[in-house]
Amino acid sequence: MADIAATEQTPVSMLRREQRKKRYYSIGIVLPCLVLAMFALIPFLSPSYKTLDLALKIIIFASLVASFDIMLGYTGILSFGHGMFFGIGAYCVAFLNGKYGDPTYFHLFLGLLLAVAVACVLALIVSLISLRVKAIFFAMITLALAELTIVLANKLSHFTGGEDGISISLPGIFSAAFNPGSFLGLDISGRVITYYFILLACLGLFALMLRFTHSPLGRVLQAIRDNTDRAEALGYKTFYFQTLSIVLGCTVAAMTGGLYAMWVGYVNPESTLEVMAIMLNVLLMVIIGGMGTLYGGIVGAAFLLITQTFLPDLQKIAIDLFPNASLLHTILERWLLLFGILFILVVIFFPKGVVGSAREFIARARGEAFFSS
């Protein structure tokens, strides 16, 4: 006992205790709680399908981007197969609840579990093959594999449903037909229950990822990102740690894919596997939000999805304002061009993203030294 009391008095542990006390009042904990409360209240504030859909897509993509961030921002490994893992998760749920099984709770659970298992194995194989040489290989090989998956999903149409895809029906309380009545003026339907279920699941995934990155293991990953050779020299087997991070990131991606399939009720190669489209979105989100922050995913996903939703309106306004500038119209029609330029500008001038820069600014304002994490 004496020993423990003595160790608690060390300067480091005292500092830690101070920090822990402060933490509950800091912006770092208050802001996420506010955001969470907002998402929880959205069905009450605006129960229209469009808002609900947008909010839920933000939640799902925020989790997906966070899982991507574990690999990119915390470990320094770029994967172009993240969309593939997302799609695999979606397909696993769809197989068991649409094509090869009746919608039951057990099948739903099994589908998510299958998604995790498949993603785990695939991620392991890919990292075993590619990480032996160079981390660059990982980007190239995942890109190749992702393209292959799309081709397979389209070609093996008797198995995957081909381009037509698979529609999913959900069991019991998640199904659209379920309607027990209303609560506080909100019409409780299967959609709303699904919304809350997915919100909770994503919250769990997010908590898992936060725990992972803030553990000593997460520190090792950051050390590997910053200087692989030094981490190796310190005695860490970088290969194992990188593999672990990849497996976790990909597994979470598959889970979010499964949840996405639950919400959309339909999977096809175009919507869930399309490498360039999904990867472009995810990359933009993670860059805008800030690499290596996890929370950046929420900011990036919210920004991008809201912009994309209201883009047609923006185009209309622009056309009304300048009816004669045809070049402007062409460029506005190609909104991806604007996003591409934005992407390059952010990478060059704003590499920490919104959250990273905000953290740096706060730390500067307080006069603390800033360490990006």
Partner: protein, 329 residues
């Protein structure tokens, strides 16, 4: 013992293994079809080599994974498309000379435009992020989006039919083996480019510096060579090769579309991984492997064609993690 043999006969063993592998389909395919498929495979391989060699040299020398290579490839195809449109009379004429004139003009235009584009890309974007792999990939990925969207703005978002010079169409019938004319031209172009690149790399001082740079960049810089100038030059050459590949490929597949780069970039990556980073010979061998196996498998087991390259890549990576050839060779 086996170690030393493996080391001494390294390249020969690789080549012998590859040769055996590609004679195997003779058992499953009638010889005439085998010959047709082989020529198709060689042509495809040569076209892939044009794309992959640029990626490989840039990756080997500058340590930059250039994702924008696919977009440059598509730009080459589109510039060639416009040149053909401009020289429509020459393309339609029933004269070998005029046809080749149009083809040469298209090649010069495409390579020049895209080389300039590549230089701008290197100076403006890539130079900022040397030494940081992650940001290189990100920034060239961003450049890809912008370049592809620029194609859509300039040439329109839809597919277009690529014109083919009249004498390039049709095929020869040699002892009942049907040989597409344009495929032979592709093979010749590929062989020519390989020869020129090899000659420059092996026999000139510039090539010496490039090869030395692949092995040790810092040392080359310490010897007083302006490595940044060299980088810009190599980037431009790589972009020019991509443009040539794009032009040749679009004539081969009879169409141009804005996204065409991403498909072939993927093949190029597989080729580079198989052949070994930074090796031109490796790119050639890798490209031929990919082209031939794709054609054989597409004939034997059609649904597996898309996957066979990736399977070959995985097998080769398991045996030789760094690819078939070492850098700089």
């Amino acid at each position: 013992m086996t170690e030393t043999i493996l080391k001494r006969w390294d390249r020969e063993l690789v080549i012998a293994g590859v040769a055996v592998l590609f004679l195997l389909p003779l058992f499953g395919i009638p010889p005439k079809i085998y010959l047709t498929l082989t020529i198709a495979g060689l042509a495809m391989g040569m076209l892939l080599f044009l794309v992959a060699s640029g990626v490989s040299i840039i990756l080997g020398l500058m340590d930059v994974l250039n994702f924008a290579h696919g977009a440059l490839f598509a730009w080459g195809a589109y510039v060639g498309f416009s040149t053909f449109k401009f020289l429509e009379r020459w393309v339609q004429a029933d004269s070998v000379l005029l046809n080749f004139g149009a083809f040469a003009a298209a090649i010069v235009c495409a390579m020049a435009v895209v080389a300039v584009l590549g230089m701008v890309l290197e100076r403006v974007l890539v130079r900022r992020v040397y030494g940081n792999h992650l940001f290189q990939i990100l920034i060239t990925f961003g450049a890809t989006i912008v370049l592809v969207e620029m194609i859509r703005v300039i040439w329109g978002p839809n597919d277009d039919v690529m014109a083919v010079p009249l004498t390039f169409q049709g095929n020869w019938d040699v002892f009942d083996v049907i040989i597409d004319r344009y495929r032979i031209i592709c093979i010749l172009i590929g062989a020519l480019v390989f020869g020129v690149v090899q000659l420059v790399l092996k026999k000139t001082k510039l090539g010496l510096i490039v090869r030395a740079g692949v092995e040790n960049r810092d040392m080359v810089q310490a010897m007083g060579h302006n490595i940044f100038l060299l980088f810009t030059g190599v980037f431009a050459v790589g972009a020019g090769l991509a443009a040539l590949g794009g032009l040749a490929m679009s004539i081969f597949s009879l169409q141009v579309y804005p996204d065409m780069g991403s498909t072939y970039l993927l093949f190029a990556f597989i080729v580079v991984i198989i052949g070994g980073l930074g090796s031109v010979t490796g790119s050639l061998v890798g490209a031929l492997i990919v082209g031939l196996s794709y054609n054989y498998v597409a004939y034997l087991v059609p649904w597996a064609a898309a996957g066979v390259n990736i399977i070959i890549m995985i097998i080769i990576l398991l045996i030789r993690p760094k690819g078939l050839f070492t850098a700089g060779k």
